[in-house]
Amino acid sequence: MTTTTLAVLVPLLPFLGAVAGLLLGRTAPGFVRPLAVLPTLTALVLAALVAARQGGDAAVDAATELTPTGSVPIELALHIDGFAALVAVLVGLVASCVQIYSTGYLRDDPRYPSYAALVSLFTSAMLLVVYSGDLIVLLVGWEVMGICSYFLVGHYWETPEARAASLKAFLVTKLGDVPFLIGLFALATDAGSFRITRVLGAVASGSLDHPTLIALLLLAGVAGKSAQFPLHTWLPDAMAGPTPVSALIHAATMVAAGVYFIARLLPLFEASQAAMVVLAVMAAVTMAGSALAALAQDDIKRVLAYSTIGQLGYMSGALAVGDRGAAVFHLLSHGAFKALLFLAAGVIIHAAGTNSLAAMSRMRNLRDRIPDAYWTMTVALLALAAIPPFSGFFSKEAVLGVAEHVVTGHTEHAPAAAGWIVLVAGLVTAVLTAAYAMRLWLLAFRGRGAEAPDHGRQPLTMTVVLWVLAVPSLALGGFAFRLLPDWFDGRDLSPTLTTSVLGTGVALVGGIVTYAAWRHTTALTARVPLGAVAAHPEGDAAQVEAEAIATHEPAYGDIAYAPDPADPGRLLLGPLHRHAAAGFHLDALYRTLFVRPVQAGASLVRFLDREVVETYVRGAGALPRWLGTAVRRAQTGNVQTYVSALLAGTVVLAVAVVLVATGA
């Protein structure tokens, strides 16, 4: 088979799996699990084959036009360069891991068939986005991901949190998608084509008329999808979905789509200095703010969600300084270790029966119950904190190194201001990242107090996957930074001495300070009893998690926050803690700025409709009704009355006829 055929099969297989799963879900439950896992696994193998064949050489391009579509043609096109090939492998890997993990995680869930089919559909859409060489086809995958995300976040639709979160995720990403769509149209009008290769050609020849406008419009869509400030608020709430969904969608793939999109069209963004600065500011605000917020969260998955936002900020930062190699490198390593973090968090939530770090810090021996999750999570957290030699270190160093390059003026791709912004914000975030990683680890695994509840052994499917993902988390960076430049633009990705020392140093400082704070506060743990544990420890992990989500707010008073004085994050953040826990009140701000006026407008419209328009409608109906009543009154049933009226009419007519005939 040619590379093109293989590449076509990669998104197609999960799609067919999804269709078959939806069709057979009720009639043949036995096929659901193979139909979920096997197409995704095959897609992973094929993606790896495609990557091996492509091998970082010239991009594979193929296109076919199904039907003429007016002035700007839309083609089914593939454009597989090194980025696409490797990102597809990552997507396939994470998706396969998540599918396998889900078979254990949602073991007893009655809605598993539709869940698995949606995950497959989602995988297919993401692979389409990755491989597509046509922007409209890319948009199709982009939007399919949006709707899948809506359904999957709302998987526990019995809980009000999940319903609200799914709606919020959908609406906020759509808010970005509208300017995105307009930007795509503007781009295609300027470039004369939706094909990525032609668009890039047009950019290179400088024939774009409005690069800044287009870039900013596209950035809005990217900010929505990749959860960048100011459209990031949906991602922490989206943790109301099942953990595997969080791992797949909200860590490794969907949110990466925005970053990947910029990486594909980076020359377009580079054509506009303003867009690069905006991107840099966006990235800086996102990473620093989300790291602070992560330090204050009580829900383990919300910590990881904010961490995801921060790491995506790193990628955006790398793009803002004009190096997509570093960005995609970080995307790859982050995809691996963040998926691992989420999946391990799923195991922890199942084992502890709660998603609250405050409650976990009051459990002894949680790590002995789940040694696999303990070890793999440790690896992933080290990678997240960018401690050498874990993979996160190398990718983050690549980002910081590029920023430092720009600052010192070694490159003309990006404005120096962007370099400074990214570098400073990156270092600050490195401290905070290490701090919240440390806090998470300490609270989850170093708890003291009562014995952790026994929720039985974790399913094999769930633990094996953790080790599979631990391998790239541990080793990807070290091997990859030498090989990846061949696949990417050829720019060097190896860590520079300055940033390595600086980055590792601040990370160590963050970790040590957090440890000290924890030592200081941990004595309070025993004095303040706190926590709630799921009521059905024998249930499968999904049920335990749903209960944990549903009980968090009643038990602690807030979805993101627990009144726990033993939290080291409280000590470290001081008065900032309250605001950080609430995500710096952005939700409240948006509520005041947008939601309230819209609701007021809606109630005004409702009033107008009910009271004003309805009155006219009623009036229009009342007149015929009165006429009808009057006419009905004539139907007395008295035959003599009828005949009287008939004859009276006859007389009148006859007289009229006679008068007319005589010409009177």
Binding site: T641, A648, V651, T662
Partner: protein, 228 residues
């Protein structure tokens, strides 16, 4: 063109001679036949009025006899003697008797009944007067000058009627006999149940009805009046 001429031509068609001949006769010079016709007509019309206005139901039937008899005399005056005798035989002899039977079988009250007219009376009066005015106006306007020559052989003698009936009207005549048969059968079918019901349970049902339902008080009262 006036209404009279219009209707006159419509009615007379290709016979303009009569109009010319009729011009010689005026309303102010009635013959003896006309006087007789007018008087009998007045009686007939008065009897008809009483028939439809009297409050005593049986009297209405009797005044109907007067009306129909008056009409028979009018037929005689119009020289249609066969029709006149048929009128007397069938209408006065059988139809009125039938109607009287009907009145008795439906236990119509004897004596003045206050509710002989329905609430529709004033509308009916209006319609009747209006149509009468219209009809009389049209008829008088059309046939003001038309004259019937009653001299010579009688136009409606039994011989003439029989000849025309059995020369020209045999097929409708026979069809009519079928119609009469059908009516006979229909009447029997309609009243057969009545006979079965009336023979055995007329008394018991009406008694039970008056006990059970005050709504039929009127019916039972009329029944009492009938027996009285």
């Amino acid at each position: 063109m006036t209404l009279a001429a219009t209707v006159g031509i419509l009615a007379t068609g290709p016979i303009p001679i009569t109009t010319a001949a009729a011009d010689t006769h005026g309303f102010l010079s009635p013959t003896g036949v006309e006087i007789a016709f007018l008087l009998v007509g007045l009686v007939t019309f008065g009897a008809a009025i009483v028939t439809v206005t009297t409050r005593q139901l049986v009297h209405a039937a009797l005044w109907l006899v007067v009306t129909l008899g008056g009409l028979a005399v009018e037929y005689l005056l119009l020289t249609a003697e066969f029709i006149a005798w048929v009128q007397v035989l069938i209408y006065v002899g059988s139809v009125v008797v039938l109607l009287l039977f009907g009145l008795m079988l439906t236990r119509a009250p004897i004596g003045r009944s206050p509710d002989a007219d329905s609430g529709n009376r004033w509308a009916a009066l209006t319609v009747a007067v209006a149509s009468a005015a219209a009809l009389v106006w049209v008829v008088v306007d059309a046939f003001r000058t038309t004259w019937i020559d009653l001299d010579g052989p009688a136009a409606g003698s039994t011989e003439a009627t029989g000849a025309s009936l059995f020369q020209n009207w045999v097929l409708p005549f026979e069809a009519l006999s079928v119609l009469l048969l059908a009516a006979l059968v229909g009447a029997i079918v309609l009243s057969r149940k009545a006979k079965a019901g009336a023979a055995t349970t007329a008394e018991s049902t009406s008694a039970a009805r008056s006990e059970k339902d005050p709504r039929t008080e009127k019916g039972s009262r009329s029944e009492k009046e009938g027996t009285r």
